[in-house]
Each structure stands twice: as structure tokens, then as C-alpha cells.
């Protein structure tokens, strides 16, 4: 149900919960998947297509079956208050759907400055509930407001759980707002991500294959202006003949950008923004710079001799990347800290990664995915399994 800011204080929030993966909820999510495919054009909105793909019935029943195998008595946490980020169009929908599937009722803070995309998405979700799923409609709320301390105060006192998506400033702010003693918090703070590529793998693969990889890399980065927490800021190269591999890789990216006419659409603002970030880095960390490469202000690369602390303070956007040659995979433990979220990889074997995670010095990293999957959402995010924290277990001895 959509609630306007002016009606907020007179509104009584119902909160009826369901059992996790209850049929009504699963049917709603399946219906939503179909609706999204009808209402959005796949090619224009790959992020919506991904969301619809997540919501398809086969995927949801898989999750449902896995969930029930555990044979525990699970109840939803209750009423969940969500503060999703404004600027990734589909993020609020994932936050909502994960929590809803686990049986919770939800109150969503929706910013008034939405991307067109998400405004349409809220409407579709709301209308579908209103038409066919009255029960869900009466227990799930989308409130349109921005900076209202009063509304935040009230909502934080009535919820059983909070899902607060960063920036760090938002997290800090909500940590100061009082909640009930039992309220459970999930905070997603500012993260950064990396990419690791095996040069020999790149040197070996076919032209056709590298084209697909370029497209996947684009979806991880340029598609969201490289501003998602899971978009890589630093590209690490492994193996010998890295120069040959870099050339092949970046040329493929360049051709992909040309092919989709990115050179026509990228903004003057993004060119200036990259100029500011790179100049700031050169001013403050010049000892770390090996070389700077600029391909028509579409791809900007700062090659590093060594990795400075807090590289994430110089987080590039719009296609500004750091680049570094690793001697061996375990070298990343020297600079990866707790804020490192995702490592996208290419040409590495799973057992190498398992070995890496067993390294005691690896302090960060929550997730390894292939290039192209960095934006895929899952019940496990930032190292937290939402199926555990958004439910409670009842034991009977």
C-alpha cells in the first residue's frame, strides 16, 4: 500500500505475518515476474530483467525447497523497516522481496527522488497486491518521504527489524535512532570491490569469448556508472604476459563501448569527475603511480606500483579503474580490508579461491563471482544470510 507523507501520522500500520515461503507470497512473486517481463523492455532495462529472472517460479521454489530441508521451525521476524538506497533502481525491490518471502510484513522508505524506473516498479508491485493479494496489500507499505526525522523516529519504534542500506552516513544516523530492545538490525555500510584476472586465460581465449567478457564487464561497471558497491575499482592481473592480456582485454572493452555507442552518450560531467578523482590521486599518492592510460575519456586507467591504504577513498566512477600486477593470488591479503565486498574473477579455479579464503590473513571479501555477476542479488549479501537474520527459530525439546 502506498502511503503519502502527509497521511503518515494518522495511519495505523497493520502487521500480519505469514509463514516463510507461504503459497500466497510465492504466487505473488511469480505473478510479479510475469508482469515485469510484460511491462518493461528487456533490452532497455537489463536490471529489471535480472529481477524478473530472480522472481521466476523455478528459482523461488528452489529456494523454498532448500529452506524447508533444514527442518527447523522458522517464523518471520515480524515488521521490517527498510531504508533502501535511492540510486540503484531495483535495490528496494530485492530488499522487499527477500524479506517478504521470509514471511515478514514490510515498511519501505521510498525516496521521492526516484529513478523513473523504480517509480514504475513501486507502482507495479503495489497494483498487483491491490488487485490480487489483498492480504499482502494490507500489510506491506511504501512510504514516500525523504528527510523526516519525525517519521523515522516513529517507524523505528514500531519495527521488529531494520534493513538499512548505506552509505556510512545513513548507517551512522540510524544507529542514533532509538528502537525497541528486541529490534534486530542489518546495516549495509559502504563497500568497494575488486576484480582479479588471469592473464594467461585472457591471452588464450577466442575473439568471440572476449567479446562476451567485455559485455559482462560492462554490466558490472559502466551500466551503473561504476558506482555500485560491487562494481570493481581495482583490476588485478595475475600471471606472466600481463601486458598482452591487458591490451586484449581493454581493447575488447573499448570496442564494446563503441559498439553500444557509449562514446555518444557519456556525459561531460563524467569526464570532469574522472579528471578530479585522478588528479586528486596523483596529487596525494603520486609515489604509487606507475602509469596513466586514457582512452578517449571512456576508459581511464591508473596503473599502480603498489597499493596505498584506503584506495576506496579514490573510488573511480564512470570507468576510472586502478590496475595492479599481482605476483601471486595470496598477495591480495596485503591490502584487502573489511570493506572489501566482492571479487569478480576471470580464469581462476574455484579451489584456488577456496584456498585463498582459508588464508588467515584475508580480512575482507564476502563474495567471489564471475565477471558479469557482480550486481546479481541473493539472500546472502555482504556475508549475511538474510534467511537467518530475518527469521527466528523456535525449538521444541
Amino acid at each position: 500500500m502506498i502511503i503519502k507523507e502527509k497521511d503518515f501520522f494518522n495511519f495505523k500500520f497493520k502487521s500480519k505475518q505469514f509463514t516463510p515461503f507461504n503459497n500466497t507470497i510465492c504466487n505473488f512473486i511469480n505473478d510479479l515476474s510475469k508482469k515485469l517481463l510484460i511491462k518493461f523492455d528487456n533490452r532497455d532495462s537489463p536490471d529489471i530483467a535480472t529481477l524478473a529472472f530472480f522472481c521466476r517460479s523455478g528459482n523461488i521454489s528452489n529456494y523454498k525447497n532448500n529452506f524447508n530441508i533444514k527442518k527447523k521451525i522458522k517464523k518471520p521476524l515480524g515488521k521490517i523497516f527498510h531504508v533502501p538506497p535511492n540510486n540503484i533502481a531495483t535495490n528496494f525491490a530485492y530488499s522487499f522481496i527477500f524479506s517478504l518471502l521470509l514471511g515478514n510484513s514490510n515498511i519501505m522508505r521510498i525516496s521521492k527522488n526516484l529513478l523513473n524506473h523504480s517509480g514504475k516498479l513501486v507502482k507495479i508491485i503495489d497494483e498487483l497486491m491491490k488487485e490480487k493479494y489483498k492480504n499482502l496489500y494490507e500489510n506491506n507499505f511504501f512510504i514516500f518521504y525523504d528527510k523526516s526525522h519525525e517519521i523515522n523516529l516513529k517507524l523505528n519504534l514500531i519495527c521488529d527489524g531494520r534493513m538499512i542500506w548505506g552509505g556510512n552516513e545513513t548507517v551512522k544516523y540510524f544507529k542514533t535512532i532509538p528502537t525497541q530492545p528486541h529490534t534486530k538490525d542489518i546495516f549495509f555500510y559502504d563497500r568497494y570491490s575488486l576484480c582479479i584476472i588471469d592473464s594467461e586465460f585472457v591471452n588464450k581465449i577466442s575473439k568471440k569469448k572476449i567479446k562476451i567478457i567485455a559485455k559482462n564487464f560492462f554490466n558490472d561497471t559502466y551500466l551503473v556508472d561504476q558506482a555500485a558497491c560491487s562494481s570493481p575499482i581495482l583490476i588485478n592481473w595475475l600471471g606472466n604476459k600481463t601486458n598482452e592480456a591487458k591490451k586484449k582485454f581493454w581493447s575488447a572493452i573499448y570496442f564494446h563501448l563503441k559498439k553500444i555507442k557509449y562514446d555518444k552518450v557519456f556525459s561531460d560531467y563524467s569526464a570532469i569527475d574522472k579528471e578530479v578523482t585522478s588528479s586528486t590521486f596523483f596529487a596525494e599518492k603520486s609515489d604509487y603511480v606507475k602509469n596513466y592510460k586514457n582512452f578517449s575519456n571512456m576508459i581511464n586507467i591508473i596503473e599502480l606500483k603498489k597499493i596505498p591504504k584506503n584506495l576506496n577513498l579514490y573510488k573511480g566512477k564512470f570507468g576510472l579503474f586502478f590496475e595492479y600486477d599481482l605476483k601471486k593470488l595470496s598477495d591480495i591479503t596485503k591490502f584487502v580490508d573489511r570493506s572489501c565486498q566482492t571479487i569478480t574473477y576471470l580464469g581462476l579455479k574455484k579451489n584456488e579461491l577456496v584456498k585463498l579464503t582459508n588464508n588467515r590473513n584475508l580480512y575482507g571479501v564476502d563474495r567471489f563471482v564471475n565477471i558479469g555477476s557482480s550486481l546479481d542479488m541473493n539472500f546472502i549479501w555482504d556475508g549475511i544470510d538474510l534467511r537467518d537474520v530475518l527469521t527466528r527459530n523456535i525449538t521444541i525439546d
Binding site: 535511492n86 529513478l115 556508472d225 556525459s267
Partner: protein, 352 residues
């Protein structure tokens, strides 16, 4: 400036020649080398970006304006810094410009010179400042706004601040001032947005200062949502003050002094002391009459490396040395701040 200002004292800022262009280029290269030698930070930045030898004016490296907000850039002995200019940043971050006496003095000398050369006015005029008098306790730090009217005060005399300390319009004092100077050319100065807001409050008044001159600058951004534009602005001034001689200027705190005055044809002009280059998003030279990013170049900055700057403003170059107003130099228009593209990301931009 490095080359003593006196060297240029007698040349006309708005009459160009091949020799003057060569001289400008020689001086700007010298200045660039000076900054490279005197600031490791500046040298570090440009060594990564500009790997070719400078042969033409458009090869002079540039810094982005925002860099002055997060980095302190100084190329004079830091003990010599006697003044810091601060931009009026709305986002909390302000640009800091470090001035030594030399640099500050060339700022005002050049400003007076180009004013005289541009308008052909040689005498000081009674001056009305559309602002309040500055806080005298603050001697070291100066806002860009104060720096602007202080710079122009060398063209005026018998100063009258139109606002009192509580920002009220001193209308009675204004009447007295105008009566006293009823047959003289008066110089009116202020920020565009401040003047606009004062004009909105000036109800039921009509003055006739037909022969006076107004200079204003700072842009339209703050008052855009009030339907403010050049046409409306000039119309109100005509109605309320019978003022017609109104000139906008384009300039920024990073290059105080070598500003660009707007001519009678509505174009901003470069002078002998300045240049502009319009660039596309790849930073190549933009074609004539096409919109692009404005790079500004100035001979003045000697205590900080602000001699060549890529701004976040859009502009269009219309030609060089053939403006119908008769003055030479490049002439151009400014279209305001570049559109901030939607930045997506996991973080909320508006917190709480």
C-alpha cells in the same frame, strides 16, 4: 605576475596582434614551468596527464576546479601567504586560493586595467555596492563575494553599501546618495543573484540614473527558479532605475582579476591577460559555435597553480577578433553549470 605587470601597462588589453599572442603564449609557458618547479603536487599531477612538449596554447595542462576544494595548492613561500580567498560553496567544500602580496596586487592591477580598456572609463565613479559591508574582524580569509567588490572598489569612490548588517535595504540613504550624485555617472556593482533579490524587494521606487553603469557577475544558478534571466534582469533595471548600461561578467575565484566582461553584443571577451578554450568531453578542442566545457587561462596566478583550469561550466565560442562590438579577443557565451548526471550507487545521497 612573473613578468612584471608594468611591462604590459601600456598595451591595450582588447586590441590583439600576432606579437601579443606570441607574448601571451611565451608568458604562460614560463608560468607553467614556474608552477611545475615550485609545487611537487602540481608537477605530480601533470606529469601523468601531459606527456608531450607544449607547442601550442591548447597543450597547456589544466587542473579541474574541484581540485582546489580538496587539495591545498601553493607555489610561493608559505610564509608569504597573506590572504586566502574562499569560494562560496554550497556543498560545504570550498575552494581555497592562497595569495601572496604580489599575486593579490596583480589581481587588482589587471582588473582595473581591463576595466578601463574595455569601457574606456578612466575616472573613479561614486559606487553603489549591492551588498553589506564586510566583517572587518576577518582579515585573513575572504569570501569570493567580498573579493569581488573589493577588487572593483578601485574603480569607485564614495562607497555606498545598499544593505545594512541585517540585510535590510537602506532605501532612505540610497535616496540621499542619488540626490548628492544626481549629475554624475554612478558605478553599480554586485552579484547577479543578490542584485536580483534586492530588485524584487524594491517596490514602488523609481529612480533615473540613465547614464550610470552596472557590472554584475556570479551567474544565474541560484535564482534560476525565480524566472531570472538576462532579459528580465535588464528589463527590471530599466523600469526601476532607467538603467541601460548593464554588463555581466564571467569569472571565478580561481582566476580573480582576469575576468571576462560582456560586451554590448552580449558576448564575453578574453583580454590580453586571459584566454579560453572550449573542449568536448574527450577534451579535444570543440568546434566553433558548439557547446563544450570551458577552460580558462590567466597570466595572473603566481602564488598557486591556477593559471589553467577546466571549469564545470558549459560555454560556446563564437569567434576571435571579429566581434561586432569592435573589441578583439575570443568572444563566447556561458550556459551555466554542466548537468550532473545521475550518479547511481548503493549509498543514499540524501542521508536520513
Amino acid at each position: 605576475m612573473l613578468a612584471k605587470f608594468d611591462k604590459f601597462k601600456n598595451l591595450d588589453s582588447y586590441k590583439s596582434s600576432k606579437e601579443k599572442k606570441r607574448l601571451f603564449f611565451k608568458e604562460i609557458v614560463k608560468l607553467n614551468n614556474y608552477h611545475k618547479k615550485n609545487s611537487k603536487t602540481f608537477a605530480d599531477i601533470i606529469k601523468n596527464k601531459n606527456k608531450i612538449k607544449i607547442k601550442k596554447i591548447d597543450q597547456i595542462p589544466f587542473l579541474p576546479t574541484r581540485l582546489f576544494k580538496n587539495t591545498n595548492l601553493i607555489t610561493t613561500n608559505s610564509k608569504k601567504i597573506f590572504k586566502i580567498l574562499e569560494s562560496s560553496g554550497t556543498s560545504g567544500n570550498v575552494s581555497k586560493i592562497f595569495l601572496d602580496k604580489n599575486n593579490a596586487s596583480s589581481q587588482s592591477k589587471v582588473l582595473i586595467k581591463i576595466f578601463k580598456d574595455f569601457f574606456g572609463i578612466n575616472n573613479r565613479m561614486p559606487m553603489i555596492i549591492f551588498d553589506k559591508n564586510k566583517n572587518k574582524n576577518q582579515k585573513f580569509k575572504h569570501s569570493a563575494r567580498e573579493a569581488a567588490y573589493t577588487g572593483f572598489s578601485f574603480i569607485g569612490k564614495e562607497f555606498f553599501f545598499l544593505l545594512d548588517n541585517n540585510n535590510n535595504i537602506q532605501i532612505e540613504q540610497l535616496k540621499i546618495f542619488l540626490k548628492k550624485h544626481s549629475n554624475t555617472k554612478i558605478f553599480l556593482f554586485g552579484l547577479t543573484s543578490v542584485i536580483w533579490e534586492i530588485l524584487q524587494k524594491l517596490n514602488n521606487v523609481k529612480f533615473n540614473i540613465k547614464n550610470s553603469i552596472m557590472i554584475h557577475g556570479g551567474g544565474w544558478k541560484k535564482i534560476k527558479d525565480q524566472n531570472a534571466n538576462k532579459k528580465n534582469f535588464n528589463k527590471i533595471l530599466k523600469e526601476k532605475l532607467n538603467l541601460k548600461n548593464i554588463h555581466d561578467y564571467y569569472g571565478m575565484v580561481e582566476q580573480t582579476g582576469s575576468i571576462f566582461f560582456e560586451c554590448e553584443r552580449g558576448y564575453f571577451h578574453t583580454s590580453f591577460f586571459s584566454d579560453i578554450i572550449i573542449r568536448d568531453k574527450i577534451f579535444n578542442n570543440q568546434k566553433l559555435k558548439k557547446k563544450g566545457l570551458i577552460q580558462i587561462i590567466s597570466l595572473i596566478p603566481t602564488s598557486y597553480p591556477g593559471h589553467s583550469i577546466i571549469t564545470e561550466d558549459w560555454g560556446t565560442l563564437f569567434g576571435e577578433d571579429n566581434c561586432r562590438c569592435g573589441r578583439s579577443g575570443k568572444y563566447f557565451k556561458v550556459h551555466g553549470r554542466i548537468a550532473k548526471s545521475e550518479i547511481r550507487g548503493c549509498g543514499n545521497i540524501d542521508d536520513n
